[in-house]
């Protein structure tokens, strides 16, 4: 179960332009040639068909000596060559943590950001793994060991002045509760819960959900003093089909009473993730009605969007994307709300609707597109519309927080709860 080396290299569509940005070995040195081999494999896979993108390349590639486990994110490949049987799931989880942590530290992840912060990046990698065994990967704990760069830090380093990282701090894992440091103090004690639900759905052209589920997460920001012991209960906990918790949550309490009992870490953390299967007759908040009539040389289409089940709330940031067939060359369209854009290179039609208010006129986009050459395949291809939106103060599953009780401390905390429903992987078949 060990991961010994990591290479991070850039990916761009120009095959020649791939370079290693981070190279880190936790055990023995693995020659860089392996990256060339890997890049070669990726190029081969991508040369397989015109539609093959970097995302389509297998995450585990076998070579006689190494199994090349890789994750592709934000234009960067995180590559880990392994020489013996490993738990690939663990490697993937770990590889994903790296950009997660960098995001947490630097606000974004890119080649430039990594280069600007290479000293921090290398320190982080050093703390995250020891000789192939994951060590500290909790952002809260890492921040105690490796200081996050802030403006002040940067000024100091730039000026060449000392950053005396004090040795006063106790490392992670030394208190009784590894996720919470001792002696936290706030003047006003507050805790905020953001319940964000993402809908993953496949909807057919009649508006019926072929598959539909909501993935919820309770993002929590705790600003409570001392060692608060909390119990959070829900009005309707039985809705949840599957869930996972932050380390601090006492599992047995959930099993027996369906309440979340925990001593929170300080600051931001994800308290709970859950999944709710939605029935196929579920009223989705928004209905997209596409009609595409395909002829030999092109097609006429119109797409209507209407609100259905939003409890009177407006739907915001609505964007529809319709990937068109590769042979599409021309497009003309008209919409009554928002703006549309046709990307003639990527062959994608993007309709940015923005906010839709209940009982106002329904947004409609209609028009036609033409194929450069008439082909049977183009004429028979199916169309799928990707849908993005968000609805504030709304929870599709209907999960509701009931009360928060606090033990072990004497103050009365302020509790803030916000809900939001978003489109996750939400697709409508035309």
């Amino acid at each position: 179960m060990t991961l010994f080396s990591l290479f991070t290299n850039t990916h761009s569509d120009l095959f020649s332009d791939r370079k290693v940005i981070i190279e880190k070995h936790w055990h023995e040195l693995i020659p860089r040639r392996v990256v060339d081999f890997f890049n070669d494999q990726v190029s081969r896979a991508m040369a397989d068909g015109e539609d093959v993108t970097r995302e389509d390349v297998l995450p585990i590639i076998s070579s006689p000596k190494y199994q090349l486990i890789n994750v592709y994110r934000d234009g960067l490949t995180y590559l880990s060559p392994v020489t013996k049987e490993v738990d690939p799931m663990m490697v993937f989880e770990f590889l994903h943590r790296i950009p997660d942590i960098m995001q947490e530290y630097f606000g974004q992840v890119s080649e430039t950001v990594i280069k600007e912060n290479f000293v921090t990046v290398y320190q982080l990698l050093e703390e995250m793994m020891d000789d192939g065994f994951p060590l500290t990967t909790e952002p809260n704990a890492l921040k105690e060991i490796v200081p996050a760069p802030n403006i002040l830090n940067k000024v100091i380093t730039t000026m060449g002045a000392t950053t005396s990282v004090s040795t006063r701090k106790m490392p992670h894992g030394m208190s009784n509760l590894p996720w919470r440091k001792a002696g936290v103090k706030y003047t006003s004690n507050e805790i905020f819960f953001d319940i964000v639900e993402e809908i993953d759905a496949i909807v057919d052209s009649t508006g019926k959900a072929v598959s539909c589920e909501a993935h919820g997460a309770i993002q929590t920001n705790s600003r409570l003093s001392g060692m608060p012991d909390l119990t959070l209960s829900f009005v309707n906990p039985r809705l949840v089909d599957d869930c996972s918790f932050h380390q601090s949550v006492r599992f047995n309490k959930w099993e027996s009473d369906k309440v979340l009992s925990f001593v929170p870490p300080d600051g931001h953390f994800r308290l709970m993730s859950y999944r709710v299967n939605l029935p196929s007759q579920q009223n989705l908040p928004i209905q997209v009605k596409p009609s595409i009539n395909i002829g030999a040389n092109g097609a006429k289409f119109d797409i209507t969007v209407s609100l259905r089940n939003t409890d009177g709330k407006p739907v915001e940031n609505t964007v529809l994307t319709l990937p068109l067939h590769k042979s599409t060359t021309t497009l003309t369209a008209h919409c009554n709300v928002g703006q549309y854009m046709f990307d003639p290179v990527g062959k994608v039609l993007r309709w940015d609707i923005g906010k839709i208010v209940p009982r106002e006129r329904a947004p409609v986009l209609s028009g036609s597109f033409g194929f450069g050459s008439s082909s049977e395949a183009a004429g028979n291809a199916g169309y799928n519309i990707g849908v993005e939106f968000l609805i504030n103060s709304h929870s599709l599953s209907g999960l509701k927080v009931d009360v928060l009780k606090l033990f072990n401390e004497s103050y009365k905390p302020y509790k803030g709860v916000r809900t939001m429903t978003k489109a996750g992987r939400y697709q409508v078949r035309a």
Partner: protein, 755 residues
């Protein structure tokens, strides 16, 4: 401000112009601490972009003695990188290291012992033992847990030394530590050492250790949980009750956000299920495993991929899992192809008469996607559903007809191939659709599709009014055709002749003439000879052979042998579970036995089919052993009045082994067996294939050679319903489809030398 920072960044990465190292050298020796630190940072920057800064070793190491933790860490980073190339200089650092392991700050103690272990140089080994011993007994759990991994590092370099110093014993004691994180790391280290130890007695999970691990399981980090769960899987429970107890304790781990924890917990449960006798309990466990598996499918595509490969395994072992969750396996249009492929496989595995409607409408949807490979797989999947579920076959056929009517070339061809299988499974049931199929005659250009349609025409020649015209039509290009198509045409023409002798006497004569005179391919030519002799000596007998009933076919959804299955279940959440192969089959640098190769090849063949989405058809008749039959055949004389086919085809009835391809074959079942993976599509013809092989032998092949060829040809000729004959001929040209599976990298051998 931003510019300022950028400037700073580029400063670290300044071009390695002449004298940069000299400049760094000066700065590293500077009397100002800030300048020295800045220089170390630049050194590290150069190191990370691959520039050689090893010449600065002594100067960098001098900066190790500092109270500035960041500076210390940077120097440590440098040391780890260059110690190997400067082993003599490492000694300069040893004293500081040893001193640091006594530092008041536990963070520095831990850091020092951690780094020392990472410097894989013999000189360090002489000095690491004392500090390591101290750190293993440190008051601070953070130091202890770091030291535990340190033992594994030492072990990796020098097992003797680790044993002599009693570190192994100390580590075993740490499994009873009061701190769960220390327990987890001790377990991690011991498991790692056990794997590479020769005696394999470093870490044996007994009841006491198991209980300690279970106690630590809830409290340690996610990575510690993975380590503990992995070791727990090695425990052999005494009885059902104990297995139940362990499962109870492991179940909460299914609720973890880390997919690796979830799968590791599933592995423990799947293994312990073998010991559990309580049916109710088993049912409960199975029920609890489904939701977390479904949840994994909402993760990143890589995680989905590993999950799907494992779900595929688990489903074959426990078909009752995920029964109501087929919807979550429906493909999104922007899923990566490797995810779609796996989802499709699982959809078919979950297919039953209740959800077939839903699945069919999905498959039809996929058939209109842009990705041609995926479309083909979807069409094949429809065929597999039809063969699996009798009641649904009609709906499947209707969907296939709809698809044929789209006239999209590759869809039509794939549909026809699939329909041939359906005809095989349900003879005479769907004859009405033959005219529709024949309308597409001209659009077929792939050998397999062409062959399929020709087979259908031959098989149903008596119902197709213009069968002779259709065959004639194909015969125009007879000589240019691929040998698969030629063989099909040959057989179809003979069938036509036997069924409608009046119309086709001339055709059959012409075909046999052409095939024997103008075709060099021995398979085609020899088959033509065999037919000719058969027809000329005893047409009745020819009828009995050519028009004999074909053995029924069925779809196998379990594609892995029970023995391999058990091994793979033991390896859930490892690479083996992704490849569906035993670990030794793909970890390149290990030699493995011929037996393992065979086993792996079997797994491979099965695997291949699965991925390619081919219908895995199997003769249910059981395949008799080959050798006797073939030996019998040797005695036959084709010219004699006692023709070959009158000898009973079955010489023994050894059932088909599930463990891989059947190499054995009797005369009339040859085709199914020779296809290497139990695909038998053209049973009747296959019989003739056997004959053709016989006459091939007459042309100079020794018997022994023949058998050997069979064995060899059988494995690679997998997945090729027509390749049966090519394989049988054994002339060293087995038909092999290009593997498109993840594990395969045969084409890259040129680069292999590099590693």
């Amino acid at each position: 401000m931003a510019d300022f920072i950028k400037q700073n960044a580029t400063r670290f990465f300044a071009n390695n112009k002449k004298g940069e190292n000299a400049e760094l050298l000066a700065d590293l020796n500077s009397e100002y601490r800030d300048r020295r630190k800045d220089a170390v940072k630049r050194v590290i920057a150069n190191m990370t972009v691959g520039k050689d800064v090893s010449s600065l070793f002594p100067q960098v190491v001098k900066n190790m003695q500092t109270e500035d933790l960041e500076m210390k860490k940077l120097v440590y980073l440098y040391l780890m990188n260059y110690a190997k190339s400067n082993p003599d200089l490492v000694i300069l650092a040893v004293n500081t290291f040893v001193k640091d392991t006594d530092h008041v700050n536990p963070l520095i103690r831990a850091l020092a012992i951690r780094t020392m272990g990472c410097i894989r140089v013999d000189k360090i080994l002489d000095h690491i033992c004392e500090p390591l011993r101290k750190c293993l007994q440190d008051d601070n759990p953070y130091v202890r847990k770091t030291a535990a991994i340190g033992v594994a590092k030492l072990w990796d370099l020098d097992q003797e030394r680790a044993l002599e110093n009693g570190f192994v014993t100390t580590l075993q004691e740490l499994v009873s530590d009061s701190n769960p994180m220390v327990v987890a790391n001790a377990v991690t280290a011991l498991a790692e050492m056990q794997e590479s130890s020769t005696s394999k007695d470093i870490f044996i999970v007994n009841v006491a250790i198991m209980n300690k691990m279970l106690a630590a399981l809830n409290e340690c980090t996610e990575w510690g949980q993975i380590a503990i769960l992995t070791s727990l899987a090695d425990y052999k429970p005494l009885d059902s009750k104990e297995a139940e107890n362990v499962c109870e304790r492991v179940i909460p781990r299914l609720q973890h956000a880390n997919g690796s924890v979830v799968l590791s917990a599933i592995r423990v449960i799947m293994i312990f299920l073998r010991y559990i006798k309580n049916e109710e309990f088993i049912k409960g466990l199975i029920k609890k495993m489904s939701p977390p598996l479904v949840t994994l499918l909402a993760s990143a595509p890589e995680v989905q991929y590993v999950s799907l490969r494992n779900i595929n395994l688990i489903l074959q072992k426990r078909p009752d899992i995920l029964q109501n969750d087929v919807r979550v396996f429906f493909c999104k249009y922007n899923d990566p192809p490797y995810v779609k492929r796996e989802k499709l496989e699982i959809m078919i595995k979950l297919c039953n008469d209740k959800n077939i409607e839903q699945i069919l409408s999905e498959l039809k949807e996929y058939a209109s996607e842009v990705d041609v490979e995926f479309v083909r797989k979807a069409v094949r999947a429809i065929g597999r559903c039809a063969i699996m579920i009798d009641e649904a076959s009609e709906r499947c056929v209707n969907v296939l007809l709809d698809l044929i009517n789209t006239k999209v070339n590759y869809v039509v061809q794939e549909a026809i191939i699939v329909i041939k299988d359906i005809f095989r499974k349900y003879p005479k049931r769907y004859e009405a659709i033959i005219p529709t199929l024949c309308q597409n005659l001209d659009s077929l250009d792939e050998p397999e599709a062409k062959g399929s349609l020709i087979w259908i025409i031959g098989e149903y020649a008596e119902r197709i009014e213009n069968a002779d015209e259709l065959i004639e039509n194909f015969l125009e290009t007879f000589l240019e055709e691929n040998s698969q198509v030629q063989l099909q045409l040959l057989t179809a023409t003979v069938k036509l002749f036997l069924k409608k002798p009046a119309q086709s006497q001339e055709i059959v004569h012409r075909v046999l003439q052409t095939a024997t005179n103008e075709i060099d391919n021995p398979d085609t030519r020899d088959r033509a000879y065999v037919y000719w002799r058969l027809l000329s000596t005893d047409p009745q007998a020819a009828k009995a052979v050519v028009l004999s009933d074909k053995p029924p076919i069925s779809v196998q959804t379990r594609t892995i042998s029970p023995a391999l299955m058990d091994e793979l279940i033991n390896n859930i959440s490892t690479l083996a579970s992704v490849y569906h192969k035993p670990p030794k089959a793909f970890m390149g640098n290990r030699a493995f036995s011929a037996d393992a190769v065979k086993k792996a090849a079997a797994a491979d063949a099965r695997d291949e089919e699965q991925i390619i989405g081919d219908a895995v058809l199997d003769t249910t008749s059981g395949a008799p052993a080959a050798k006797n039959t073939i030996a019998d055949l040797l005695d036959l004389d084709f010219g004699s009045s006692e023709p070959a086919y009158t000898s009973p085809p079955v010489s023994s009835s050894k059932p088909a082994s599930n463990n891989g391809p059947n190499y054995s074959a009797d005369l009339f079942d040859m085709s199914s067996d020779m296809s290497g993976s139990g695909i038998s599509v053209f049973g009747g013809m296959g019989g003739m294939g056997g004959m053709s092989g016989m006459s091939g032998m007459g042309m100079g092949m020794g018997m022994g050679g023949m058998q050997q060829q069979q064995q060899q040809a059988a494995a690679p000729a997998r997945n090729d319903p027509f390749g049966d004959l090519g394989g049988l001929g054994g002339f060293g040209q087995p038909q092999q489809q290009q593997p498109t599976k993840p594990a395969q990298s045969s084409a890259e051998n040129d680069l292999l030398g590099l590693f």
